[in-house]
Amino acid sequence: MVRIGTEALVEDLLKRIHEAGLCDGPSEDLHLFAEDAEEPLERGHSMEHCGVKHRHHVHCHKCHRIHVAVLYNGVEKDHSFPPSTKVKRVLKWAVSEFQLKGADAENKVLRLAEPPETELPNEAHIGSFAHPPKCGLKVCLVPPIRFQG
């Protein structure tokens, strides 16, 4: 965890994140996004100027966009999102893109298409599941895992 004053520059926070080993790569290669923001925060601006307040969360990533390919019933649709996009927004996009309605749209989650087939929590940032240098991921639109037996 990194704590920093709101008067600090975005650049300063990126350096601190790098020093803490929270994000791989030199700080010049990193982008810092406010939650659900389209563009990274300006490095020369203060956190306060960017609207980042006490206990706000930001997302640090090397990728400017995450290319998400969603599989549903053998059909693939794709779109690019900023890394700080919440999974629930990607899920909503997918449900709309596949034109699912009513019961078909309900109780769906996104899961990584490849092992370990991680379920993506709706409140998580999509960038958390894309590991540079790869700036993309493939997911399936499926019901949640049902633990039975």
Binding site: M1, R55, H57, K88, L91, K92, V95, S96, A105, E106, N107, K108, V109, P116, E117, T118, E119, P121, N122, E123, P144, I145, R146, F147, Q148, G149
Partner: protein, 151 residues
């Protein structure tokens, strides 16, 4: 302080737990007894009328052993009446008082894990000693908060 309690204390002060608190996903109700803390998890009101469910954990052996938890009535300081347990497609299999009133049917609950080795194929949720209580809370939060595409 017992080892399970000191480790749990550290995890409750860690970034992953605090991030969830900041987002309103969960929070501590009572943690004076760290072997039996009560932690609430936010739930969609379609599934949980009160908007959150309190869980009383048993963290004996944590984190070498998974915790176990049951819905808790904080007014009476007793197990929540089965009629008040969360309901709905994504919650009903996990919150199943007909199976056990003292635990959740979850791959990260030490009571439910017994006899369910087939759940190991979901390593995200199958408890491992490297996990923290946040995994348990996240599992419950996912089940209690299905996406609402209407809003």
């Amino acid at each position: 302080m017992k080892p399970n309690e000191s480790l749990l204390k550290a995890h409750l002060e860690g970034a992953a737990f605090l991030a969830g608190v900041d987002c309103g996903k969960w929070g501590i109700h009572a943690a004076t007894d760290l072997t039996f803390p009560v932690i609430w998890v936010r739930g969609d009101k379609r599934l949980v009328q009160a908007g959150r469910v309190h869980l009383r954990f048993d963290t004996n052996g944590y984190p070498q052993q998974a915790p176990t938890a049951c819905p808790w009535d904080i007014m009476t300081n007793a197990r929540l009446a089965p009629g008040l347990w969360p309901k709905g497609a994504s919650a009903a299999t996990v919150f199943n008082p007909a199976w056990n009133v003292g635990a959740l049917y979850a791959p990260c609950d030490r009571v439910a894990m017994q006899g369910h080795d087939d759940w190991k194929r979901y390593p995200q949720w199958w408890w491992q000693p490297t996990f923290t209580i946040v995994v348990y809370l996240e599992f419950v939060h996912v089940r209690l908060n299905p996406a609402d595409h209407e809003n």
